[in-house]
């Protein structure tokens, strides 16, 4: 029930996303652009770029008053830096990139959503290719993406804990469990067991279930007007992919390694040639996982936001309405992609685990 409600809410929010985006777009682009003569296309592009990047605060909206003063409504998140000692301060100190943050004699500034060490006036030095050469302190900040990961983790914990507790009392699922149980069973019966095998699948179930629901929920929430994109962050997908890689590597049996380094059933020379290829393959597989999830979600968001942006580029009834319809249809497609990517990630992970524990007959 709650999930249905959530889905309805998301659909409703997708209708609203354009309007909220209008608001966000107009104001924040003004905030960023500072010059009002910038073309609408550049503003849209900038907004999309900004949307795709992680940030140090939760921006809700910002309002420009008649005098041109901008008020930001956002939730600052903690910035944690390692720069000759731990530096912890609130991201509100940056004032949305407008000021330099001073922490115990060190100055930091935001440049393209990254923190650089700077001087009191916030000077940025550039190299020939216009890349900043300032020192980047080791950044352990609780960014928007991470805080959202944390929220989703909490949500998942309470959701599934509640579901688990229900089983203590009665054998049949209740409430949310009615929707979640078939999905859990699907992952067990149609993803884990066929790919890994009845003998070993239990060891991997926790990981597969967690990753499926995590990616799905976080993809879905990424489609809300909150504008939180987590799975289009390469560090996030890298983290997920490397876990699949590590689990595959550490649970691989003798036969798995034998098939990598000394492929049975082929001539010795081929074995020598195959070994590096197979070894490379073990890295390419999780790398593909990482890129696939990242690229799908990023591309989806870029296209969706571009089409929403087209409404303002056209600025007439026909073009804007068409863009709206297109954006709506695309949003529905993105809902599918959200689930599909979660499924693919889970499916391929279980496939790799299956290969790691497969017991080969002698060739």
């Amino acid at each position: 029930m709650r999930r249905n409600f959530l889905m309805k809410k998301i659909t409703l929010l997708l209708f609203l996303v354009s309007f909220v985006s209008v608001a966000q777009h107009d104001e924040s682009s003004v905030a960023e652009a500072t010059s009002k003569d910038k073309g609408i296309k550049e503003q849209v592009k900038e907004f999309i770029d900004h949307h795709l990047q992680d940030s140090y605060s939760f921006d809700f909206f910002s309002i420009t008053n008649d005098a041109g003063e901008i008020t930001h409504y956002s939730l600052p998140l903690p910035v944690i830096l390692w720069d000759n000692g731990l530096k912890v301060f609130s991201s509100s100190k940056f004032h949305h990139g407008e000021t330099v943050a001073e922490v115990s004699g060190n100055y930091y500034t935001l440049y393209h959503s990254k923190i650089y060490k700077t001087d009191a006036s916030g000077t940025i030095h550039y190299d020939a290719a216009h890349h900043p050469t300032n020192i980047k302190p080791l950044d352990f900040s609780f960014t928007k993406a991470i805080s959202f990961v944390f929220l989703v983790a909490l949500l998942m914990f309470f959701m599934f804990r509640k579901m688990a507790k229900n089983y203590e009392k009665n054998a049949l699922p209740k409430g949310m469990g009615r929707l979640l149980e078939p999905i859990i069973l699907y992952i067990r019966d149609d993803i884990a067991i066929p790919n890994i095998g009845k003998k070993h699948y239990k060891r991997y179930m926790s990981y597969l279930l967690t990753i499926f629901f995590f990616v799905w929920i976080i993809n879905l929430l990424g489609l809300t007007p909150l504008g939180v994109n987590v799975t289009n962050n390469i560090a996030i997908t890298f983290s997920l992919a490397i876990m699949t890689y590590l689990i595959t590597t550490f649970t691989g049996n003798k036969s798995y390694w034998k098939h990598i380094f000394w492929m049975p059933g082929v001539p010795a020379l081929m074995k020598i040639i195959l070994a590096p290829i197979e070894l490379l393959g073990t890295f390419i597989k999780p790398f593909a996982l990482m890129i696939r999830l990242y690229a799908n979600i990023t591309a989806g968001h870029i296209v969706l936001m571009s089409i929403i942006g087209m409404m303002f580029v056209f600025h007439n009834w026909i073009g804007s309405s068409l863009s709206f319809v297109l954006a709506f249809i695309l949003s529905l497609l993105e809902l599918l992609v959200a689930a599909l990517q979660a499924y693919i990630f889970t499916m391929l992970s279980s496939l790799y685990f299956g290969a790691a524990v497969e017991e080969h007959d002698e060739h």
């Binding site: 950044d139 960014t143 990961v149 914990f157 804990r161 054998a171 049949l172 967690t210």
Partner: protein, 166 residues
């Protein structure tokens, strides 16, 4: 690629890994294990229940078959008994008939013998009577012969007339 590497933030990776691994272990202990166990138990329970239902069904079928067999046997036994009784009855009747016939024959034979004996006795008695009569006649004849021959003949003839009636 350059953008990808530039976008990569070690801090995000670090927190994500910590949070995700924590989530996996927490969910494993508090959610996945109880959920999967409960579902497994339920599935096994259902399978067991189905199996025992199947067994019960088979047992019922066996019982029904047994009952039918018993009924059939009982019926066969009854039929056999009735047949036997009928045979016994018929045998008794025919035996009685035979006995009666035999008895009747015997009685008739006895009667015939008795009649024969009576007849013989009667004949013997008759012979004796005839003899006595003959002697009496002879006596009388003898007595009359002495007086007249004519008289004698008349007497004999008269007597013979009487006798021939017998």
């Amino acid at each position: 690629m350059d953008k990808l590497i530039n976008d990569f933030s070690f801090g995000t990776f670090f927190w994500m890994s910590v949070l995700f691994i924590g989530l996996v272990f927490l969910l494993k202990k508090f959610a996945w294990k109880p959920i999967l166990d409960a579902v497994n138990d339920r599935e096994e329970g259902i399978l067991n229940a189905l199996a025992s239902a199947e067994d019960a069904k088979k047992e019922m079928q066996n019982l029904t078959a047994d009952n039918a067999n018993l009924l059939k046997e009982a019926r066969a036994e009854r039929d056999a008994m009735m047949k036997e009784a009928r045979e016994i009855k018929e045998a008794m009747i025919s035996e009685a008939k035979d006995e009666a016939k035999e008895q009747a024959a015997k009685m008739i034979e006895n009667a015939v013998t008795a009649i024969d004996q009576e007849k013989q006795a009667a004949l013997a008695h008759l012979k004796k009577e005839v003899a006595e009569l003959s002697i009496g006649i002879a006596e009388a004849v003898v007595k009359k012969e002495l007086s007249s021959q004519d008289e004698q003949i008349k007497l004999v003839e008269g007597m013979l007339k009487d006798v021939t009636l017998n």
